[in-house]
């Protein structure tokens, strides 16, 4: 009865994984590497790869432009517009990081927000429609993006941003976990807390002193975050099934 949706598989999951990390990277870059182009490029590549992956999942690929038709109610349309904005501002930022990078970061935040709301609006899937999913998706994007940004700099500002994002993500996960109670997320959730939060925080702390530890912290945060999101999209996505508030009366009681 509880049917695991198969409409969105790893390809759709990749959009949330790569798009979230890419979006988070743009935001982190705006904070930590305001003049660097490489993080911007990587961010855009990741987001594009994610969108490319999900495009592969659509049934009518040549009609992809129709995705823009419903900005009034569809978070998928909004995500598409946010992506367009992100690419436009990202391209501009590649040309001139300032003043365009902060604007691109805002577009990235909008993009990530739309992704979170896409799940939230999926009424058929209790694990997605939980309101707590929004903060979870946004915070994982922030944490993973910051973690990825540690490849480019280990500046204390970024480390601090990264640590805050990790804490936020852990809180978001705990709140989400309490609301959604999904068995399929228990293992990745545990990984997210133990490796992706505690270990990553310790490594980040070490990163203040030994910069080489910082990318390790980032890797731990990214790997566990991606694992969780993959599981959330492809493994925990059970339809709620059917329930009868009343059982039929068959003949005389």
């Amino acid at each position: 009865m509880n049917w695991l949706q198969k409409h969105w598989d790893a390809r759709a999951a990749l959009n949330f994984m790569l798009g979230g990390t890419g979006g988070g990277l743009m935001i982190a870059a705006a904070l930590a590497t305001p003049d660097s182009r490489a993080p911007i490029l990587l961010s855009l590549v990741l987001v594009a790869a994610g969108l490319g992956a999900v495009w592969l999942e659509t049934g009518r690929k040549l009609r992809a432009v129709n995705v823009f038709f419903n900005p009034f109610t569809s978070w998928m349309t909004r995500e598409a517009f946010a992506a367009v904005l992100l690419f436009a501002l990202g391209a501009a930022a590649l040309w001139r990081p300032q003043p365009f990078l902060p604007a691109a970061a805002l577009a990235a935040l909008a993009f990530v927000w739309c992704q979170a709301r896409i799940l939230r609006a999926s009424m058929g899937i209790p694990a997605w429609r939980a309101p707590q999913v929004v903060l979870l998706i946004v915070s994982t994007a922030l944490a993973e993006g910051a973690g990825l940004c540690l490849l480019f700099t280990t500046a204390p500002l970024l480390l601090t941003w990264f640590a805050l994002a990790l804490v936020l993500r852990a809180i978001a996960w705990s709140r989400y976990r309490a609301a959604a109670r999904s068995a399929a997320l228990e293992a990745p959730g545990k990984g997210l807390l133990q490796i992706g939060t505690v270990a990553a925080l310790l490594l980040a702390l070490a990163g203040y002193v030994v910069p080489a530890a910082a990318p390790l912290a980032g890797a731990a945060a990214i790997a566990t975050g991606l694992w969780l999101k993959f599981a959330l999209v492809a493994r925990a996505s059970y339809n709620q099934g059917f329930a009868l508030p009343r059982l039929p009366v068959r003949g005389t009681r």
Partner: protein, 880 residues
């Protein structure tokens, strides 16, 4: 686009009347024939199986031209090496064989017909085989007793005893009026067809209480007010306890004493030897002055073979008084220990039944005042089959008789006769017999007429007096004997031989009979098998010729509809319906009538064939529309004559619509009186009584049969002879299957589960396992993907849903996926339907076993009517 009216009769609960949508010569969709809604008891709707007919027509694996076997070796693992041949060659080979047989004599050295034929599905293939019955009639003796399920796996005791007691080959509650129904394993929502489902839904909405007594929560149990999970094969004990409550706990005045006294044999006096006391002058039973009495009369007591056992002033007790004493030990407390159903619950159900019986009330139907008794008991397949079946049928009929609910509005009704004649009219079969009871054409057991020379291999005439001689008697004999005795015929019977030519149509005994492996091995020895084939299957794997007959939507036939027929098929109308080609036959498929006519012509039997058609072999006597006998007629010509005769019969001779009219209209009916549903008024009018509760005739016949058998050195039927009792006692029926294990040197504890089966509505009788649509929709119903196991029991064994488990008897085992459900007893397993295919295209990939592979053909497990039951003790373990 056009819509073509036709019918579906794939299962015994048909026919359903439908239309087929045809677009540019392609059949695309089945719909109810809404024009029939007003006359059909199921709102004119069509069962799910009919929706598979489009796929059936266009099935890519259909046999579309005659094929001959090129590999002379037959066996499960042998490739038959089918190669296509022309119809001319195919018919030539068959007629050559038939002419050879005819030249040598129709019977073989053992006296058995050299030609045999098997048709499946409770007589439903007859609605598809056009004029083939006329060919068989023209031919002469044919052995139709090789079972594929019919006879031994049907509602067997109900068929035989039901006909004896109230002309009830199939017995149904009067669902439109019944208010309280105890259903012991009767799965009417799966087996009652559209009319059954429709009527029971109406009854539920009306407030009928149905108590489903069954080891698992079937579809019918699900739709019942109450589910009683009884231990398998103990239904007789449950029913006996109900009778005990009625006889020993309820005030006598609450029973229908008038009905019992005036309309049953209850007041007949029974002598010291167990036979009726008879008037010395007339020989008729002496009737006591009261229902429960012990009286002394001048009379005589006659036993088996007319032997006078006592004469003079004799003391007798009424049959009813004997019954009361007989039922004394069967209290609810006793039954609780047997059935695993609480005594209080049994008592409550008995009292609810009694309370709902409305004893004394009447109802007006079509201007006639009839008793109104809206209570009924219905019985399922494994309940009426094999050991214990007789006791259950007796108890059920008695429960009706005690409250006067037999063959009256609201009570239980026989809906058709197949053994007594005429088959089309139950009431005409009510003729006076001995002792003020209905006549019944028992196979003779007296020394002059009993014969140790059976007419067919299953020896029904010699062994089963109740299986009245005739084609249906053949099918209702111990049809496993034909298979079992091929290897070693027991003493006294002529050696059972292989038929020289076997026709097979719409049946697949290699799947649907017990002990599939043993059956295959025997089939492989049949020298010449002609299979009318839709696709390849497990039985025609052993055939020599495959003939593609035009299937359901491609061929022509007119059948009777309405009146009263199987199960819930009792209508307020009667008439005829036409099956007509919605599309042209695909490939080289031929209408069955074409095939039959060609065979008749090639075997020189055209005169007899036409004469048989004229006499009514196709369902209607042709009378004024008779065919000229000496020449062959085209299929359309034949059915045109049948249509005209049917039209004339329906209209009382004023109309004679031909085939074209019927093609346009599809069906025609006239009103059928509802009072004709009930046999009681007919018995009462003819001064006849129901033979309840005492079975003096059976007692006598059993003793006579025993003598005849023993005179011929036949001792191997002694266990079965014990079933012939005047008042049947409870025996440890489930123990039969436990003792079968002990006989194999194994302990019942090693095989702790009862494996049962249950009908799947989507498949039952349909021969439709190859239809993807049917498979797909059936899979929505729990149990189609594996063996149903109680959730708690499975978990305790470490078995999770979807795990493969092995189900084993001491001899064989099968694998199935576990389907965990709460709605089944922890000691019971259930395998729906009959699967286990290995040759049928598509179905062979189901990975779904059948219990048939696990059930042995066994004389020990054969009851006196010649039937067994679909039940076996098994072990269950998680498969590696």
């Amino acid at each position: 686009m056009k819509r073509v009216a036709t019918y579906c009769y794939q299962c015994v609960a048909g026919p359903d009347l439908l239309t087929v949508k045809v677009c540019d010569g392609v059949a695309t969709e089945v719909e109810p024939n809404f024009a029939a809604a007003a006359v059909h008891p199921g709102g004119g709707k069509v069962c799910v199986k009919a929706y598979g007919l489009v796929q059936k027509t266009y099935h890519p694996a259909r046999v579309l031209q005659p094929m001959k076997r090129t590999n002379p070796k037959k066996g499960h693992g042998e490739d038959p090496g089918w190669v296509p041949i022309s119809w001319d060659e195919a018919l030539g080979r068959i007629s050559e064989k038939l002419l050879q047989i005819r030249a040598r004599g129709l019977l073989d050295e053992s006296g058995y017909p050299r030609v045999a034929a098997s048709f499946g599905g409770g007589g439903t293939p007859q609605s598809y085989m056009g004029s083939f019955p006329a060919f068989l009639a023209a031919w002469g003796p044919v052995d139709m007793g090789f079972g594929s399920g019919q006879g031994v796996k049907c509602y067997h005791s109900e068929h035989l005893y039901g006909e004896l007691w109230h002309r009830g080959f199939t017995v149904s509650p009067d669902t439109p009026l019944t208010n309280y129904l105890i259903s012991c394993g009767a799965n009417v929502e799966a087996s009652g067809g559209v009319a059954g489902v429709w009527r029971h839904a109406n009854a539920r909405e009306r407030g009928m209480k149905r108590v489903q007594v069954e080891p698992h929560l079937s579809v019918t149990g699900a739709c019942s007010a109450e589910w009683v999970p009884i231990k398998p094969k103990t239904d007789a004990a449950f029913l006996y306890a109900l009778i005990h409550v009625l006889l020993h706990e309820a005030p006598r005045a609450r029973l229908d004493a008038d009905f019992l006294y005036r309309h049953t044999s209850s007041p007949y006096l029974v002598g010291a030897h167990g036979f009726y006391l008879r008037d010395p002058g007339t020989g008729q039973p002496i009737i006591a002055g009261a229902l429960e009495a012990s009286e002394e009369h001048v009379g005589l007591e006659t036993g088996a073979d007319g032997e006078v056992l006592a004469e003079g002033r004799l003391q007798g007790e009424t049959a009813f008084a004997k019954l009361v004493a007989h039922m004394k030990p069967y209290s609810p407390e006793w039954a609780e220990g047997v059935c695993d159903v609480q005594a209080a619950r049994i008592r409550r159900i008995a009292n609810e039944y009694l309370g709902a019986a409305c004893v004394g009330q009447t109802i007006d139907i079509e201007g006639k005042t009839l008793p109104y008794r809206p209570v009924a008991v219905s019985l399922g397949k494994t309940v009426t089959n094999g050991w214990g079946g007789f006791e259950c049928c007796w108890a059920r009929t008695l429960l009706a008789a005690l409250v006067g609910a037999l063959e009256v509005p609201g009570g239980i009704l026989g809906t058709t006769v197949r053994l007594n004649r005429p088959m089309s009219e139950r009431h005409k079969s009510v003729t006076p017999g001995p002792d003020g009871l209905m006549a019944y054409a028992f196979n003779p057991t007296d020394p002059q007429h009993w014969s140790a020379q059976p007419n067919i291999r299953n020896a029904y005439r010699s062994m089963v007096p109740l299986a009245v001689d005739g084609p249906w008697g053949q099918a209702l004999g111990p049809t496993h004997f034909s298979w079992m005795f091929l290897d070693s015929t027991p003493p006294g019977l002529p050696r059972v031989t292989l038929p020289e030519l076997w026709f097979v149509y719409r049946t697949n005994p290699a799947i649907s009979f017990w002990d599939n492996d043993a059956l295959e091995e025997r089939m492989a020895r049949f020298p010449f098998v002609v299979a009318f084939a839709f696709t390849r299957d497990e039985t025609n794997h052993f055939a020599d010729l495959l003939l593609p007959d035009a299937t359901d939507l491609e061929s022509l036939q007119l059948i009777r509809i309405g009146g009263t027929k199987y199960i819930e098929q009792f209508w307020d109308h009667e008439g005829f319906a036409l099956r007509q080609p919605a599309i042209a036959p695909r490939g080289e498929a031929r209408d069955f009538t074409d095939i039959a006519t060609a065979l008749a012509l090639r075997t020189g039997l055209i005169d007899q064939y036409n004469a048989s058609i004229n006499k009514g072999a196709l369902g209607v006597r042709l009378k004024d529309f008779s065919l000229e006998a000496s020449q062959p007629h085209a299929t359309e010509q034949i059915w045109d004559a049948v249509c005209k005769a049917a039209s004339s019969e329906l209209s009382g001779g004023t109309e004679s619509h031909g085939l074209d009219w019927w093609k346009e209209h599809g069906l025609a009916t006239r009103p059928f009186p509802r009072t004709a549903w009930y046999l009681f008024p007919t018995l009462a009018a003819r001064g006849l009584r129901f033979e309840m509760p005492y079975q003096e005739r059976l007692l006598r016949i059993g003793q006579e049969l025993g003598r005849r058998l023993h005179e011929h050195g036949m001792r191997w039927w002694d266990k079965q002879l014990a079933e012939y009792q005047a008042l049947p006692a409870w025996k440890d029926f489930p123990g039969e299957w436990e003792r079968a294990l002990v006989a194999m040197g194994r302990a019942p504890g090693e095989f702790p589960f009862w494996l049962l089966t249950s009908r799947s509505m989507q498949y039952a009788w349909g021969g439709n396992v190859g239809m993807q649509l049917i498979k797909e929709v059936a899979d929505n119903v729990a149990g189609h993907g594996g063996v149903i196991v109680n959730t708690g029991r499975a978990r305790a064994m470490g078995v999770a849903s979807g795990d493969f488990v092995e189900i084993a008897t001491p001899l064989r085992s099968v694998r199935a996926r576990a389907v965990l459900r709460q709605g089944i007893r922890p000691d019971t397993l259930l395998l729906l339907g009959q699967f286990g295919h290995w040759a049928t295209p598509f179905a062979k990939d189901f990975d779904m076993p059948s219990m048939n592979k696990l059930v042995p053909m066994s004389l020990e497990l054969t009851d006196a009517t010649g039937s067994g039951a679909d039940i076996v003790r098994v072990a269950l373990r998680k498969a590696a």
